[in-house]
Subunit: 203 residues, 2 copies
DNA sequence: ATGACCTTACTTAACGTTTGTTAAGGTGGC
DNA sequence: GCCACCTTAACAAACGTTAAGTAAGGTCAT
């Protein structure tokens, strides 16, 4: 073989492991996935993983960092602070719906962390990643309504969106009506309308 | 010992095991808790558990049934279908907030099931337990607003409440303002107000 | 260009522990 | 004597992790 057939074939085992491990941890949780499980998916031995990560905990942490980095920060970048708060609301909702809908691992790991995360890790994650977007959301929430606490409102907005994805697997059993596909736009519109009629009315 | 000192001291090992295992599964998840962990908490040997349950899976399922039974059904009973929908909304929200706030295991196991539950178990749980309350909520939601899909609205209501509890552990790191205690009434009022101003306005 | 040397990336084997589960037997109330 | 209820001991498998060795490739003085 003279030179690599595929031009950019240097998968960098490290990030390849992260990539393979991410959906596994998302689907089965930390203690539901063994190092041997991961090694099988990657196609190496279990011991090889220890060449790249000191132990399982640190591998998991690296997965978290890999998943959350950038993506969460992009929320604050996607908001145009100069536009009227109503527009910012619409912007945020459609952006966040797309984020949660397209990245199953991100949403699942986020919810797992809220369930399983010890205090120290939750504090770290929150301060390093969540505070920024949260403040940005609360900021335009404050301009939307003087009636509600903007911080509670921000939590409500996020929860509203996430729960529609969380309940997606049981939706078809909940109501016998032939539901349409789990359409992002359906959720996006529903949430936007609910929030804007809640906040637009009694400002 | 002539007769039992404490009058009703017949703990019925079976339900005692369930009682001890419930918060453990809620906190650590299915694969995070071993049969020996449970046996230690109960105060017996691990093998003793197999006298009451055929295996770990069935023990877990019994825990689920034990936790969800009654409590979830009570939601539909707590609703007075004859009162105006606005009152039903207030009733439901305060009842559901109390339920989620007072029973940590219930909420946590519910969320774990939505994350981990295989299709078959989710279908079973939904049809046997969730459909009733869900229809009841959707029913008064339909009378509240003709604008939104009542089924999506019902999901929104539940998600709104649950997420405020889900994010409770990171709340203090999210905003530096000295938050009050995680007050049920605070959440209850916030959600009720948000929903009623959303739905009362453009009926 | 060669050999010595180092680093990187992996391998197979094995360690001690924990896992779910079973077998075999004992004890106390009916 | 029987049955509900528990015990201790053990099983094979899977767990996280480590040890030791090897093959490939780059570096560098000679």
């Amino acid at each position: 073989m003279p030179h690599s057939a595929t031009p950019t074939k240097r998968p960098n085992a490290y990030s390849n492991i992260l990539q393979k491990a991410t959906p596994m941890f998302a689907a089965q949780g930390y203690s539901g996935v063994s190092m041997r499980d991961i090694s099988k998916k990657v196609g190496t031995s279990a011991a090889a993983l220890y060449h790249h990560f000191p132990n399982k905990q640190r591998l998991y942490l690296a997965v978290m960092e890999h998943v959350f980095a950038d993506k969460v920060e992009n929320i604050v970048n996607s908001l145009d602070r100069t536009s009227p708060p109503q527009n910012q609301l619409t912007q945020f909702v459609s952006h966040f719906v797309a984020l949660m809908g397209n990245d199953l691992s991100l949403r699942t790991l986020l919810q797992r962390e809220l369930l399983d995360g010890d205090e120290a890790r939750l504090k770290l994650l929150t301060e390093r990643l969540f505070v920024g977007p949260f403040e940005a959301i609360a900021s335009f929430a404050k301009n939307l309504s003087s009636k509600s606490d903007p911080y509670m409102l921000a939590i409500s907005m996020v929860g509203l969106i996430i729960f529609h994805f969380e309940t997606a697997p049981i939706r078809e059993y909940l109501s016998d009506s032939d539901r349409p596909e789990n359409d992002f736009e359906l959720i996006s519109n529903h949430v936007t309308q609910l929030l804007s009629s809640a906040l637009g009315a009694n400002q």
